[in-house]
């Protein structure tokens, strides 16, 4: 297994000017995740190294930040061709920027910065400005290796989100998913939220399903048929070490780490039927959570680690239930629709996202944990399945067949901003959004 590039350490981040989120001024503009209305210019960073060794670092940085902010649905990213100030010749601090050059093209916010390269190391200073007030809202200095470009840009996009919404964005993270893009087998891949840095994790010439992250975003659990039986494995993305966790006869499916990372909930098979169990990280059984004649599958932890939501057909068709981790009588959560599956408990604990067979296909819904306030996020466009929450509780990544083959999309919680993330051949499905990478 080749070593996978995952950067968890070494990058140095310095906040240059502490400014309150409320300082960002939003004037006369509808501001919300679906509005896609707040005009922002993301200028390529200026190269101060005096050499072209760094390649397109400054442009790539701006590309990644733009892709992230486009996913957010809050911003209108202004076309770079319209920028009057050229990055290689203009200033990048509040004193040296001609803000008229940005207001005239309609920008209310501006990201600018510079970087210098020394060997494999890069230092980047990036700032966010309020164009109307002609002042800096935030500034960050990043120091790290050139290979950490993507994380620096994702972190800055998170910072921009924090300045304008009061909450950090969800972009310094990764997606895991399965794809048939490499041929006929489902293999596990990881990718940055901006769509870049795609890496193939498994290449086993067999079926691999249901990847999910450890809380520290270092391990991926997945179920593979590479040993014949559908067994649960954990692969370490830093070392490449792949460990068999559970190989009970029959299903060892859909493993999900508990929020503290100490346990794994999964679906096992007993007497020809699927039930929910909790095992330790070594695979030893801690307890059975369900033991019914019905199908019980797809556990998802509440953020406090005390409850699990899961799919069960104990009332006929599949519905979403919640049960304490110590067992007991499960409580049904979904009452609308006859086929509800794939529960995903939100990071803040308030909502469960799920998939319902509705409107002639499969669509994403959310419901409060008490069963109230059912909301439909997708409709009338292919099958929309496999929801997974962003760590900031504001976005859901999912798979959709609306353009033909299954591709990954990101939606906000109203469904008004739905952005396509993957393209090309093959089917991409069952995405899992990691926590923040620190």
């Amino acid at each position: 297994m080749r070593r996978l590039w995952l950067l968890l350490a070494g990058m140095n981040v310095v906040m240059m000017a502490g400014l309150r989120a409320s300082d960002a001024q939003v004037r006369g503009t509808i501001f919300g995740p679906g509005a896609r209305s707040y005009p922002i210019a993301i200028s390529p960073l200026r190269n101060l190294s005096g050499s072209s060794v760094a390649g397109d670092f400054g442009t790539q940085f701006a590309d990644i930040v733009s892709a992230d902010l486009n996913l957010s649905g809050f911003f209108k990213i202004l076309d770079r061709a319209a920028y009057i100030e050229k990055p290689e010749t203009s200033g990048y601090t509040a004193d040296n920027i001609n803000f008229d050059n940005w207001s005239v093209i309609g920008a209310l916010a501006l990201a600018k910065g510079a970087y210098s390269v020394s060997g494999d190391n890069v230092t980047a200073e990036v700032r966010l400005f309020d164009v109307y007030q002609r002042r800096q809202l935030a500034g960050v200095r990043y120091h790290g290796s050139l290979g950490e470009l993507r994380r620096m840009a994702n972190k800055f996009a998170d910072e921009i989100m924090k300045q304008f919404t009061g909450e950090r964005g969800p972009f310094d993270t990764r997606f895991a998913f399965v794809s048939t893009r490499d041929g006929k087998f489902k293999d596990v891949y990881v990718m940055s939220p901006d769509g870049g840095d795609l890496q193939q994790v498994t290449k086993t010439q067999t079926i691999n399903v249901s990847p999910s992250w450890s809380p520290d975003s270092r391990l991926l659990l997945y179920t593979s048929y590479k040993g014949g039986n559908p067994n649960l494995y954990a692969i370490d993305l830093v070392s490449g070490r792949d460990v068999l966790i559970s190989s009970r006869p029959g299903l060892n499916l859909g493993g999900r780490f508990s929020p503290d990372g100490s346990k794994i909930a999964l679906t096992i098979e007993d007497k020809g039927n699927a039930d929910i169990a909790i095992i330790d990280r070594g695979g030893d059984l801690l307890r059975r959570v369900t033991d019914s004649w019905a199908i019980d599958v797809s556990p998802t932890w509440s953020p406090d680690g005390r409850r699990l939501a899961f799919t069960s057909n104990r009332s006929g068709g599949p519905q979403i239930y919640v049960v304490g981790v110590d067992g007991g009588e499960p409580r049904r959560v979904t009452f609308t629709g006859t086929y509800n599956t794939s529960p995903a408990w939100s990071p803040k604990g308030d909502l469960i996202a799920y998939v319902s067979r509705a409107d002639g296909g499969f669509n994403l819904f959310t419901v409060k944990v008490d069963g109230s306030d059912t909301r439909q996020l997708t409709q009338a466009a292919g099958n929309n399945e496999d929801p997974s929450w962003a760590p900031d509780n504001r976005y859901i990544v999912f798979s959709s067949s609306r353009t033909g083959r299954k591709k990954l999309f990101v939606t906000d919680l109203t469904g008004s901003s739905q952005v396509q993330l993957t393209r090309g051949g093959g089917d991409d499905s069952t995405p899992a959004w990691s926590r923040w990478l620190e």
Partner: protein
Amino acid sequence: MMAVRLRAVVALAALLVLVSMGCSAKKKGAAAGGAGGGLGEEGLGTGSSLERYKQGTLGTGEQGPLKDIHFAFDSADLDEQARTILRDNANWLKDHSKAKVEIEGHCDERGTVEYNLALGTKRAGAAKEYLVALGVPADRLTTISYGEELPLCHEHNEECWQQNRRVHFVVLGE
């Protein structure tokens, strides 16, 4: 009686050899569990659906001695047609008393991957339970679910889905 038992031991030993050769045999593309594993002979439709998918032969060629049974959407109930086929399959298994069978549960593409893997388990389990009730020893029958992962037919319509909602029987050795 002794001769029969001896022959069974020899057959078992041969099977173990085949199983131990499984890894290299798979790499050569021979049907795993097929009659001639190490010789590179193709088992006539007797490989698992996963092996046949790897070989690109899933959905083509011969069915094998045991017929598939089919299901309604989101159901593991055995209808009258399925029960009739299972009775025929049970009779074949009684006539071939050394045959072991892997029972594969499959689903159509609709619905989610994990639920369909669980549903496939239920379908395979229902078929096994019925065969056992008909007198086939349970220790000759194993089950595995492939959920919606190995469709025979790839179009998005009921005719296709109906073919994919199946339990398939793989004879592992006679």
